[in-house]
């Protein structure tokens, strides 16, 4: 009773004191927030979002508004959970010109678009460390292609794409000498270091990626980018810092100039020059890795040539827009008219006008040149400036109703402003240090709007503490009204950078539920238990194995010897949704497998000492899941143990014969 009295009093006190002044972390949420994020058991989320995994190299799929993580898609990192990068089929996906690289730093994502709207076909992802661009097929949520980017380092302004997915770009964050000519004094930066922008063409039907051309630009650090859309379709905009071209203590030396640049690239013009033969062919080496769904195998090839257009020589493909100061985000509004630069160190947000840009170019309204590239007059291309928006503007997204939302890293807030008038309309705190923002469809021609997610770098007191490293964080805001409303905090995987999202049905409508066994063209497929066998080829032992609820065939193998390379080619015979089988064997030095229904997957296993090695299914599949197991007997090297295999061969319950393995 006393307790209730206290609660009552406290509640009255709360009403009188803090009502209508929501400040601080607890009171930042209004009363109906819980209702707005509650997705009842058995109901699905309204929006599917794809969140970059930062330094863990993966992508997480998160439902909104609940904030529930639905899947981790491994892209640039090996993933023991399903054998990605460990199985023989997927190892080639992580090959590069530097060899096998099992991790990367994944920053930005782009959903494929048709007419400037999300079409639900593909998701593109960048690797910031060893420059790569990946494609994830959204029928299967699997990484099906990875392309390495030559002449680049730090593939940061990537993988932004044009409104019909004609191109995905990859702009280098680090200016570097061209590949193969990097052994030069760092002091020779201005002379030898260049900034390369790669335009990756995307096949209309198959989505296949190829580097159609690169543009050789001055040695800036290219940071972020966005394509024009609507009236500005045909142009691409890249923010760049370090116009000083310094190469040491950049936080001081690259912050000297009042303005750096946004580089406007006329890619349609670049295409014309490419067709007219103005590109020079350059000898390079880069990997192109593809996963073939019919054979379920990836392959890696090394490509040797790239076409390069020079921005210096071809005067009308690149123009520089002065932008205060050390610009980071470079965002184009849904109409394609406004280009918003976000100077990390600027006290204002400049909004540039595409129409004015076109006029200025026509009139050659230039204030000079940088390394042969025309610099436009700031005032001639400026639509307006948002004054005192907050500290440390980074990224802007749009709701399609004329409003822009900019993240403020230093002052930890999201600021909503009107694009036409450049007036601030609303601001809301984030907890804490917000990086990217994501409005659902907020970088398309037709934003879905409704939700905004802030991806924060720091969480401090937001969650239960977990040692020195705390959970990474996202915060969901309702932006359907005049004022932004915080609805939910939720932790994320890795350090989230950017995200993409759309209405769920865009992605659910085309999902593959299982692979058809009849269409499985894997070279080591086993279609039915009758075909299962064990084949020795020298010191290689190939096990053609099947799995079904709740047994493997074969489940007993003898005659494997120390020094053998054993390949378990496991075919999952199930033809039903949501019935993967796992495969693990004692002493495996790589990972397990998780084999989807109808799929064949291969684990290489090299036993190092004689003994009895159990193997089993790791994915709980039925009431008798625990019984889904078997043994491999390993004999010493050089022993004469015959190669035999069987399923259910016990003498007291004889069902099937013990079979002799084949030797080739």
């Amino acid at each position: 009773m006393k307790t209730y009295k206290k609660i009552g009093l406290a509640a009255f006190a709360a009403v009188s004191i803090v009502a209508c002044k929501p400040k601080g972390t607890e009171t930042a949420v209004s009363g109906d927030a819980a209702q707005k994020v509650y997705v009842a058991p058995g109901k699905h989320d309204e929006v599917m979002s794809f969140v970059s995994g930062g330094f863990n190299g993966q992508i997480s799929v998160v439902g909104l508004p609940s904030g529930r993580t639905l899947k981790i898609v491994p892209v640039f990192s090996v993933h023991p959970e399903n054998g990605y990068g460990f199985s023989e089929e997927t190892k080639p996906m992580l090959e590069t010109s530097h060899g096998f690289i099992p991790w990367d730093d994944q920053h930005h994502l782009a959903l494929s678009q048709t007419n400037g709207e999300i079409d639900g076909r593909y998701l593109f992802a960048n690797a910031n460390n060893t420059p790569r661009v990946a494609k994830i097929d959204l029928k299967t949520f699997r990484t099906t292609e990875i392309l390495e980017i030559p002449n680049s380092a730090g593939n940061h302004s990537s993988p932004f794409l044009t409104e019909n997915t004609e191109y995905v770009v990859a702009g280098t964050r680090f200016a570097v000498p061209v590949d193969g000519q990097g052994d030069v004094p760092i002091e020779s930066f201005k002379e030898n270091f260049k900034g390369y922008l790669s335009f990756i063409g995307i096949g209309k039907e198959d989505g296949k990626m190829d580097i159609t051309f690169q543009i050789e630009a001055p040695g800036f650090n290219f940071d972020l980018s966005h394509a024009g859309k609507g009236k500005s379709h045909g142009w691409f905009f890249f923010s760049c810092y370090n116009s000083e071209q310094a190469n040491t203590l950049l936080e001081v030396n690259a912050s000297q100039n009042e303005k750096d640049f946004i580089m406007a690239v006329n890619w349609k013009k670049a295409e014309e020059y490419l067709k007219a033969g103005k590109a020079k062919k350059m000898a390079v080496e880069y990997a192109h890795n593809t996963f073939d769904e019919s054979t379920q195998m990836a392959k890696s090839e090394i490509l040797k040539e790239v076409s390069v257009l020079s921005a210096k020589e071809l005067k009308d493909i690149c123009y520089l827009i002065p932008c205060p100061k050390s610009p980071h985000g470079c965002d184009v509004d849904p109409t394609g008219e406004y280009i918003i630069g976000s100077g990390k160190l600027a006290a204002l947000i400049p909004v540039f006008s595409f129409d004015k840009l076109m006029k200025a170019i026509e009139k050659k309204d230039f204030s000079g040149e940088f390394d042969g590239i025309p610099i436009l007059k700031y005032e001639s291309v400026l639509h307006g400036e948002v004054q005192k928006p907050g500290l440390g503007p980074l990224h802007t997204e749009f709701d399609g109703k004329g409003n822009a939302y900019t993240s403020m890293f230093v002052s930890s807030e999201v600021v909503k402003w009107d694009i036409k008038t450049c007036k601030v309309l609303d601001r809301t705190p984030t907890f804490y240090s917000v990086g990217h923002l994501m409005v659902v469809g907020g970088d398309t021609k037709k934003p879905y709007g409704k939700y905004l997610v802030a991806y924060n770098k720091i969480t401090k007191d937001r969650y239960l503490p977990t040692g020195p490293e705390l959970a990474q964080s996202a915060q969901l805001f309702d932006i359907s009204g005049d004022k932004m409303k915080l609805l939910l905090d939720f932790p994320t995987i890795g350090e989230p950078h950017y995200a993409q999202a759309g209405p769920a049905e865009l992605f659910t409508k085309n999902q593959v539920k299982f692979y058809k066994l009849a269409e499985n063209k894997h070279p080591y497929v086993t279609r039915g238990e009758g075909e299962s066998k064990v084949v020795r080829e020298g010191n290689k032992v190939h096990v053609y194995m099947t799995s079904i609820r709740s047994h493997f065939a074969p489940d007993n193998i003898e005659g494997v010897k120390v020094g053998d390379e054993v390949y378990f080619h496991v075919t999952n015979l199930e033809q039903d949704w949501d019935v993967p089988h796992g495969f693990a064997v004692k002493g495996a030095q790589n990972a397990e497998l998780l084999i989807m229904p109808g799929e064949t997957s291969t684990l290489k296993w090299v036993p190092v000492k004689p003994g009895m090695y159990p193997m089993y299914c790791t994915d709980f599949c039925s009431a008798l899941h625990q019984e889904m197991q078997g043994y491999v007997r390993v004999s010493p090297a050089g022993s004469n143990t015959p190669l035999i295999y069987s399923l259910n061969n016990k003498k007291d319950n004889a069902q099937s014969p013990v079979k002799e393995g084949e030797t080739k």
Partner: protein, 167 residues
């Protein structure tokens, strides 16, 4: 005590909502309207209703009048091939139980429509069919849906008929 509780909660509610003032907007700027696709979960009442009108001779599904007046050996041979990929991991063609029951005699115990409905979409029938419930208690593994097409289901039926001596 009860009244205090009410007051406390009312006061709390007041705190929570007093700052509202915002109109409740359900409108979505663009795209389609309603959230959430419901799952396949039927309510208990619905399940009971299904069970009540369940026909144990026909099973659940689209197959109704299956013409088995003639035996088609080619179809049975095709059915054997399908079975070897999708069925015989768990079923023997004798009356011996493996993971699931042996096939011998199944065409004398069940109607052609029941067999085709069950093998093409087993889950809903396992939930309601008394015979299948008994089998489940014995085998403890729900028969997987192996994604049989209509043609494949018919072929497998013909193969089962062949096992049972159809000529």
């Amino acid at each position: 005590m009860k009244s205090l509780r009410t007051i406390a909660f009312a006061a709390l509610a007041f705190t929570l909502f007093s700052c509202g003032g915002d109109k409740k907007t359900d409108s979505i700027p663009s795209g389609s309207a309603e959230t959430t696709a419901a799952t396949n979960n039927e309510s208990t009442a619905e399940m009971e209703a299904t069970a009540a009108k369940y026909d144990p001779n026909r099973g659940l599904g689209k197959h109704e009048n299956v013409d088995v007046s003639k035996f088609d050996p080619a179809m049975a041979a095709a059915g054997k091939k399908v079975a070897e990929v999708k069925c015989t991991s768990c079923h023997k063609t004798t009356d011996e139980k493996l993971v699931g029951p042996g096939w011998k005699g199944v065409t004398t115990r069940q109607t052609p429509a029941w067999i085709m409905n069950f093998i093409s979409n087993p889950d809903p029938m396992i939930d309601v069919d008394p015979e299948l419930q008994k089998q489940l208690e014995l085998c403890l593994v729900r028969m997987p849906n192996q994604g049989l097409s209509d043609t494949e289901a018919r072929e497998v039926l013909e193969y089962m008929r062949e096992i049972d001596g159809a000529k």
